[in-house]
Symmetry: C2
Subunit: 165 residues, 2 copies
Amino acid sequence: MNIDSLEKLLIHEMKDLYSAEGQILKALPEMIEAATSPELKTAFSDHLKETHKHRERLEKAFKMTGFAPGGAHCAGCEGLLKEGADIIQSIEKGDLRDAGLITAAQRVEHYEMAGYGGIIAFARKLGKNGIAELLTETLEEEGQADRLLSRIAEKAVNFKAMAHA
Amino acid sequence: MNIDSLEKLLIHEMKDLYSAEGQILKALPEMIEAATSPELKTAFSDHLKETHKHRERLEKAFKMTGFAPGGAHCAGCEGLLKEGADIIQSIEKGDLRDAGLITAAQRVEHYEMAGYGGIIAFARKLGKNGIAELLTETLEEEGQADRLLSRIAEKAVNFKAMAHA
């Protein structure tokens, strides 16, 4: 029992996402390497740059609260990234693995969308509008990344992977 | 290396979601018990009934493939549900814990939305339209459950939780 105010719950959630972004930063280079389609490699590389930005935005948001980031480990994100690693282990490099990588990455994007959505709602309730606005930019970028992955899957990857069926 | 066709990737993803739905079935009674707001308790109880239906739909979908459900453990969902259990441990029963439970539950909903979205895309590519249609019903219900949780959070829980801040 250590969360006894909405502000502490907000900080708890921000620490969770900060850990998630850090884990994603470590996982993305492996996903870029594991992907085949140039479009997917570029999407993952661009998202790696964005993830650095997302972590910096969280650091800025922490400064607005007086609390420090760190000290939490996001178990949810760990499980999701493990699924991505399993996909790499289970499927040979090629368009089929790309299709699997996309579904794994979209689970991570959705995780973050749910996480940031909650944080923004809590920040607004607490009148911390600076945090809400800053992290709304991140939420929008996570949504865009998810939609881009859907478009890549729809246009190219899944269609080519079909040849393996 | 054991996934070498889009059909096997589809089955892999269906087994993953089947494991997830099973884990959620076990976790929801504890979340109902842990919640305070009657509206949230009802939403979780209704979702428990839906989750039984979602598992049955996956069993029907497996019958259309000739493969059996089971034999997989969804690491992603395990991590997400662990976060919900941590919330229960960290926050005393009341409106603040309800706010935390909602954000944990929304992460799970988003996980399932991403998972079913991928499965439906793969099933369509493989011409397995029966599976795609069946699981589109589930995808829509997961989306509705997520939106209902947002409405409960917006209207009642977060607002009351603010008093703790």
